[in-house]
Structure formats: structure tokens, C-alpha cells
Symmetry: C2
Subunit: 562 residues, 2 copies
């Protein structure tokens, strides 16, 4: 971890204000609960360079593909979990001056993410013409209730002052990475009735036939200030509070936020349910909500923690990794998957990559347990029809899982990756293997698993070719998992995982039995052909050196002494 952050076994700590590193710090200080997450932005205004980001699991938009040169077979859109309504916003005025760290000196700065509790805390002292103003902010994205986010915020001027705070929800949000500078949201409804601010927006219509999503964000405030006004306009709702307070007294404000989507209920119920759910949070109160959240995190850590003794920085590092993984995916919703950058920003679009099975799956199996891991497998089984479609688009049989997806349809657009990084398909099969051997639960393998494995096996059998020259099966034109050399022939890993998949399928089918074979309409010739590929797959080797060769002609490269 860079020197921007202090080493601590359980906390990520920043103790100086470095505007030029704001974006990095915001990413590292991000928090999530599997269902939603947000970057470590300030609640109050900040007009310096910053990326304000809120993301809601499964709320995505198909951004029309933009490339320099179109290649046949490129997908029409790149799916993105889109930047959603700003939930945390507070405009804070002291004696009429808007707090903004880009426009006034910052005398003291301390921010920490307590990974054990999942709580982000910030202490800052702003220097105003009238004297110093201290703010303390504490917030969490609740691990207890996936719809909940809560903030406790205090402002303490060292002088007699009028403190005014406008707490708002702002749904007019734009993705920085939009391919055509398009807005992805349509504003549906906003109001400030019943002590609640409410903003409902909906992803825009799209020409690709992917579903639209509606999100209702609501919030309520508890404060020792007096209410001044409330305001709503298209995509925006706010409550404003104010009071004259004496020097060193504090203005305190709790903002409780609730986010519901039509992924979990009919769109028409969102408005009413927002108010009901928010009320249930308010009834519990900030303190109770926080302690339930902390308990939930403690339960996670009881199962997940890894202790490294004698290396505090490694200890912090491994816990940061686990914290991010646990914040990104909780496994309660089998329609979700693991965005490569979690809820930390727009890069990689929050989509599903093969990294799920290749890297994350074994971890979740160990730290989150069988049920969570099984949901990741179910996700791919649910998308098996689309995987068949992906293969068909490349003129092949069987099922090809996508490089990048939300709905199972490939949406990545670099030919050397989309069309060539085929090893991704092996990772899906290997995750089924990992699950089965780790849990000894054979039922998934024999049922859904076998269907996935069959699709994958048929893909490989369709993708290999018979090399009459050498009397072996080969796979030409791939990019191996190092992603560096494109369009190579017989990448050792790819050939090996292909044969492994074919073999694993045959084994699993034998285990599942004759009846299942008939059910899946697999004839003996096909099994024989699969086994023939397994037995006669070509692997580049160098007999003299006694080593595997990465791919054909690899050893013809220039040798550089290192």
C-alpha cells in the first residue's frame, strides 16, 4: 500500500489531505454490502478533482460500442453498472460560507476505513475567515440490511455561528466513461412528503432489448437543527436545516438512506415500499443500525479472517483484499456476480469476468461457504443458453462463456480477447470441479453442473482441429491467460484446459449414470470423440530441455540474459 495510507492491522488510514491523490483515496476508501456500494467521497461539497460514485448491484445499462475500427462479430454494446443517485450529499454552510476543501485551507485531516466494523470515519478542520470549523463524519453501507446506508455528521465551529445544512438526493448523474456522453438515467419522480426525500429514476430505453431498471432512493434526517425548507425538482429532493449555535457547540445530523429497486419488487410498489422500509430503519435509530451492521461484519470476519503474524503491512493487505471481496459479493442474490473493481468506480463496468471462477471462486468457497459459492455456479448455469449463443456467433458449437457480461451475452470488444481468450471457458468448468471436491456435494455436478460441462465440452470439440501433419488435435489462434501474446497457436494452458474439460465432463457423465446420459441425449460416439481429443491433444514440449513450451515457436524467441 502506498505511503498515502498508514499501516494498521484493521484500518486503512489517511492522515494528510492530498488533493492530487483524491481519486485513489476515494477508491481505496470505498464501501459496499454486495447489493450496493459507494466511493469514499466527502458528504459535503468538494469542487476539486474527484469522482463521485454510487453503484447498485445489477443496475446496468448497455452502452453502445465505440471502437476505432469495427471488426465483424463485435458486440453491439458494452454493459456497465452505472453511476447512480448521489445518496450521501450534504451542502454545509457556516455563516453562509459553503464548506469546500478545494476553496479553503484544511488545517487537519484524518480519514479511516475500519475494516473490522465496515465503518468510514473522517475528521477535518476547515479554516474559515471567522475561525476553525471541525467536521466529523461517520458512515456505513449496511451489511445488516442491503437497502440501508447511514451517515452521522457533526459540524463544530470554534465561534458563534449560523450552521445551515441541506441534505439531498441527486439522481441527475452522468457516467464519466459513457461512450457517447449519453445520459443513462431518466428521472421518473421526486418528492419531499412525509419527512422523506424521495428520488425515483429509471435507466433509459435502449435499442438492444436489454431490460430497464428503476431505482427508488429515499432518505430521512434526524438533527438538532431547525428545519428551514424542503425542495424537490426533477431528479432531486432535499431538506434544509439551520440554527445559530454558540462557539464549540455541535450541529448534529443523522441521514438514513434507503435504496430499493424493481429487481426486488414491482416498479409500482417502489414509492410506498421506500417509505415503509425507510421508516423501519428510522424506528431502529442510527445507534442500533450501526451495531447490527457491526455484528454482521463480525460474523463475516469470524469465518473469513486470515492472520499474518510478523508482517503488519501484509496483514493489512490481506484484510483489505478480503474486505473488498466481502463488500463486493455476498452471495445472497444468484443474479449478481463479482465486478472486478467491486463498487469502487466505473473501470471494468462492474461486469462479470472469468476472474470470478479463475481467482475469486476458491476464496469465496473458503471464506463465505458452500451456499455462496453455489450461487456463483448457478449464475453461469442460468446463462447457459446465452453461452450457446456466443459460440454460435463465432460459428462454433457448444457453449462459450463470455469474457465480459451481465446477461450471459458477450459484450467485450477487443478481437484478441473476445474471440481468442478461450481459456475462460475452462475456468467455468474448473469452478464446478473445485466446488464438488471441496464440498463433497455431488448433486450440483450431476444436475446443473453436467449441463454446463456438456456445453463447454462441445465447444472445445468444435474449436479444436485435426492436424493431419502431426496426427494430433490442435487449437490455433488463441490468446493465452498471460494476455500478452495474441493469436498464438497451441497455447499450452489453453490446450490443456480444453482436454481437461473434455475429460472432466466424461468422468462426471459416468458418475451421473446412464439415465442422465439418455436424458441429455448424448450418444456414445460423441463421448468417444471427446476421449479421442483428450488422448490425442497436442502439447508443445521441448524434449531436449525437458520443458513445456508456452506455445508453438516460443523457444525460437531471442534469449535475453536476466
Amino acid at each position: 500500500m502506498s505511503s498515502l495510507f498508514k499501516v494498521n492491522p484493521w484500518k486503512i488510514i489517511e492522515d494528510s489531505f492530498q488533493p492530487d491523490k483524491m481519486r485513489i483515496a476515494e477508491s481505496i476508501m470505498s464501501a459496499g454490502n454486495g447489493a450496493m456500494g459507494l466511493r469514499g467521497n466527502f458528504e459535503e461539497d468538494y469542487s476539486g478533482d474527484s469522482h463521485r460514485g454510487t453503484y447498485i448491484g445489477g443496475i446496468w445499462y448497455p452502452d453502445k460500442t465505440r471502437v476505432g475500427w469495427w471488426k465483424n462479430g463485435y458486440p453491439e454494446y458494452f454493459g456497465k453498472v452505472i453511476n447512480a443517485t448521489k445518496l450521501i450529499g450534504l451542502h454545509v454552510y457556516v455563516n453562509g460560507v459553503l464548506l469546500d476543501a478545494a476553496k479553503m485551507p484544511v488545517k487537519h485531516y484524518y480519514r479511516e476505513m475500519d475494516m473490522f466494523r465496515g465503518v468510514l470515519t473522517r475528521h477535518m478542520v476547515y479554516s474559515l475567515p471567522f475561525g476553525d470549523v471541525k467536521i466529523v463524519s461517520e458512515r456505513f453501507v449496511s451489511m445488516y440490511s442491503k437497502q440501508l446506508l447511514a451517515i452521522r455528521y457533526t459540524v463544530t465551529p470554534c465561534f458563534d455561528a449560523e450552521v445551515k445544512i441541506e441534505a439531498y438526493l441527486d439522481g441527475c448523474v452522468h457516467n464519466e466513461d459513457s461512450n457517447y456522453d449519453e445520459l443513462f438515467w431518466e428521472q421518473i419522480y421526486s418528492d419531499t412528503d412525509d419527512d422523506v426525500m424521495l428520488v425515483i429514476n429509471k435507466t433509459k430505453e435502449n435499442p438492444f432489448g436489454t431490460p430497464r431498471f428503476t431505482v427508488a432512493s429515499s432518505a430521512s434526517v434526524d438533527t438538532n437543527l431547525d428545519i428551514v425548507s424542503k425542495y424537490s425538482e426533477e431528479g432531486f429532493a432535499s431538506y434544509t436545516y439551520s440554527k445559530q449555535i454558540s462557539a464549540n457547540e455541535s450541529a448534529c445530523l443523522d441521514k438514513i438512506v434507503c435504496v430499493l429497486t424493481d429487481r426486488d419488487m414491482p416498479e409500482i410498489e417502489l414509492k410506498q415500499q421506500s417509505k415503509i422500509t425507510l421508516k423501519s430503519f428510522i424506528d431502529l435509530g442510527y445507534e442500533r443500525l450501526l451495531s447490527e451492521h457491526e455484528k454482521a461484519w463480525q460474523n463475516k470476519w469470524n469465518m473469513a479472517d486470515i492472520q499474518i503474524e510478523g508482517d503488519p503491512s501484509a496483514q493489512q493487505g490481506i484484510r483489505f483484499n478480503l474486505f473488498q471481496l466481502l463488500s463486493t459479493y455476498t452471495g445472497e442474490d444468484d443474479r449478481l456476480n463479482i465486478g472486478p473493481k467491486g463498487y469502487t468506480g466505473e473501470k471494468y463496468g462492474g461486469a462479470t469476468y472469468w476472474d470470478t471462477e479463475a481467482f475469486c471462486f476458491p476464496v469465496y468457497l473458503a471464506i463465505s461457504g458452500e451456499k455462496v459459492a453455489k450461487n456463483l455456479l448457478k449464475y453461469r448455469h442460468n446463462q447457459l443458453p446465452q453461452a450457446y449463443e456466443n459460440a454460435k456467433k463465432l460459428g462454433l458449437s457448444g457453449a462459450l462463456y463470455p469474457m465480459v457480461t451481465f446477461n450471459g451475452i458477450e459484450c467485450h470488444n477487443e478481437w484478441e480477447i473476445t474471440f481468442m481468450e478461450l481459456h475462460r471457458n475452462g475456468a467455468i468448468a474448473h469452478a464446478i470441479f473445485n466446488y464438488t471436491t471441496y464440498t463433497s456435494d455431488f448433486s450440483f455436478l450431476k444436475n446443473e453442473g453436467l449441463e454446463v460441462l456438456l456445453g463447454i465440452a462441445r465447444f472445445w470439440a468444435s474449436r479444436v482441429h485435426w492436424c493431419e501433419n502431426k496426427k494430433v488435435y490442435m487449437i490455433h489462434g488463441v490468446t493465452g491467460p498471460n494476455e500478452y501474446e495474441n493469436n498464438v497457436n497451441n497455447n499450452w494452458y489453453t490446450n490443456r484446459i480444453a482436454a481437461w474439460c473434455l475429460n472432466f465432463f466424461c468422468q462426471a457423465l459416468a458418475l451421473a449414470g446412464e439415465e442422465r446420459r439418455k436424458e441429455l441425449k448424448i450418444d456414445h460416439d460423441e463421448i468417444k470423440h471427446f476421449n479421442d481429443i483428450v488422448d490425442n491433444m497436442y502439447y508443445p514440449v521441448d524434449e531436449e530441455l525437458g520443458i513445456f513450451v508456452q506455445h508453438d515457436t516460443f523457444l525460437d524467441k531471442e534469449l535475453n540474459n536476466v
Copy 2:
């Protein structure tokens, strides 16, 4: 040639109005004189699907690169000869109705490009509520004076009518293919003084340090109609004429257009010189300008024509090819080169490709002669410093000529082409060989040519690697000239042209003599090394089949019976 056009030995003929094929027809009916060119657009309005295009040689703009995924080493911009001021425009009203073939029936349609004379003629009958209106248009981009374009236009209603024609120049033009929907032009000046309409515009400032260009377009009208008004605004100037004429009488109008740029004179002189040059055209008059143009084309055909007997369609085809080549490049200006699509549209951006040397150079040598061909060679010699820069950007020595360029700097952005299609460098050397052997003029070879060949030889010597395994020199990671398989090893053609270049350089150096060697500071070790590469270059072969192999492992492919 598709059935849209009739077969004729000297003409391209369209005899039916097919709005859905308008863009194709406009491209095929384009005309140019090496210095400028335009698509076969109608002079009068046409609101249907069409691409109005005017292009001026050497007037280009660096359009900021837009790609889906950035790769290290991509150039900052893609240069484009940009769509320029609309020169031919006439708004034609008959009894107040604007002629527009998208909005009224067309009763008769005939268009021909007479390639022998370089004249585009069009006959059309528009059906109006009042009766039929016949128009005849004849125009040419002058081969006699490169600044001249002339139109003769007549309107003949079959009823008594008021005919009104607004003849205009419109500089507010937008490139269809702009990467960021940017405008590339800034409007500088327009007026309608002295019976001349004048529009001066200038390419916009750019952040890449490439030069800006200023273009002055002027026009004057000779007509049997009465002048009604003149009008100018930013980027636009027009004269309007009108008259009440009897049924079957004709309204006639000649529009003489002059285009000057600051590539040929100081910017400050453009305004005055426009009027002087235009006046000299007007003094000669349309008939004389046409006959001089026809003479110039006849001279070209005297040297260039190829006759194919017994196959009228092949005869038309070869003349179309020659006509387009002669219209695109005349070799009078060694700062210009051959845009792959000539002056027919925006595709390929009018830039210089290796196609110049690989495909066009031998043709020009034969049909346009030694001086024209030599200017193509000089163009590359002028850009030798930039070729060294291109190689350096890839971490290599010597000179790498670009895939696409205006100023010698690479501006193409597909890694599999830009970084890998290295055989382009060989074509530059081979053109010098072609020139020398065809003309027996050795002076270019010994002087400028040798410098180019040295840069190219050093590039190849830096790009090959020694394969310790097989004790040969190899070239890994290229895309061969078929452009299909990317990142292959030891493409036979690439390896061969590399060795050929090294050998040709050594031969040319021997011919140039010892003094020249010292002058160029080439030591004997370097020549020895070049020869060593020539002698030990690896070429994939199949001994058993006795054939060259396209690249490593090519014969491991699946064999499909055809």
C-alpha cells in the same frame, strides 16, 4: 461494375434515378485534377441520402484518435483530408418551388462521366405541379488549371415560369467521419464584392502541432437571368438571379469557381489573388476553359490509355481505374501523395499508404513518366526524419515508414497493423529499385535513394532477432501483406523483403562508391552484419511438399477440400 452503370468504352453511364444507390453513384461519378476533387453530387438541392464532398489535396486535419481500448504506442491523431467548401451549389426555384429530387417525381434521368474528356453531364426532368422542368448540367474539375472548376447549367420549364437560381459557396462543412463530431473549419472571411462571391476558411487550431491551412474559394456567374440580390454571412456567400421566361425557353448559367490555398502563396495574398485568378478564368470564358481541359485530358490519355479488345466491360474497367488514378495524382506537387480512394469521399482520409509504392508506383512510372514517379520517391525522402522517429517510438533503430500519414508520422491505430505490418517498409525500397531499373537513372539511387535505403536497412537489422535454437535470423510478431493473420512468426514475404532490402542497400552502396559510404558514416562491420542477416535469414519451407510456407506452423492448419 454493377448494373447501376451501363457498359461503354469511354463513359460511365447511369440512366435511372436510384435514390438508394445515390452514395455509390456519387463516388463513382467523382472527378479530380490531382489538386482537388469532388463527389458526383447534384448542383441543385437534394435532401435524400447523399454525401456531399469536396476535397483539396494537402488540406488535412489531425482528428484526435478515438479507439475502444487504448494501446501503448497509439498515435495521438488520425490525419484526414477534410471535406471542404461546397463549390457547386445552386438553389433552383421554378415558380417558387425548390427543385429537390427527394421531394418530387423524377421523370427522366441520365448522368454520364465522359472519362475521355473528364466531363460530367446530367440530364433530368423534374415533374412539378405546373408541368415538367428539364435541367442539364455539365461540369469539370479542370486538368488545365488546378485551381479551376466550372459548371454550365440550364433550366427549361415546359410552361411559362419564373426561374430563380441562388448560386452559392458554403464553407460550413462537417466531416461525416469526425471522431468527436468536431468541426474542422474556422470561418475567416466572406464577401460578395466585385461580382465575385468569396469564402475564406481555415482549418482549426489543433493540439498536435500540425500546420493549419487556409483555403479561399471564389466564384463568378454568367447568366441570361437578371441579378436579384447578393448575400454573405459567416462562411457563406451567394448571388441570386431570376427571370420570367416562356415555356421551353432556357435559363442558362455558368458558374466558374477558383480555389486557392496558402500551401501555394502567403495567406495574406489569398483574397486578392483569388479575384485575379478568377478574373483570368472568366476572361477566357467557359467554352475555352472546357476545350483547354479536354486537351489536357487528351494528352494524358495519349500516354496512359490501355486498350482491351473484345471485352467492353474490361475496357471500361481499366479506363475507369486509369481515370481515377490520373484524377487523384498528377505528380506536379511533391508534397502530395495518392489517397487510396482519391477524391471520392472520406474513407481512408486521403492519406498516404504503402499502397502508393506497392501498387500505384509502377503504374504511374508507366503512364505518367519518370518525373511524376520521382516525385513520389522524393515525398518519402522528405519524410525520412519522421520515419526514424516512427522506428524509435517502437524501440527500434533505423527508419520505419508509416502505415498511414500526411507528414511522415504514423497516424494509424490498430496495433495488428500499425505495429506489425512491417512489410510496408520494403515497398518503399522496392519503388526505388523499380524506378532505377525502369528509367536507368541511377542518380536518385546514389543520392536521396541511398539515404532512404540505409534507414530501411537499419530498421530491419534492428527488428530481426537471432534464433539460437536454429542458428538463423527470424522476424516474430508480424502481420503479413494478406492482412488476415496477425502476430505471426516468420511470414515468408516479410522475411524475404527484409533480406531483399538489406541486400539491395549493400548493392546500391557498392555502386555509389567508397566516398559515399564515408559520407554516410557506414562502417564495414555494419555492412558485414547486414550481409550476415541476408545469408542467414530463415524462410519457412516444407521440404517434403517442396513449397514455401506462409509462416511458421501454417501447415498445421486444418485442411479443407475445396
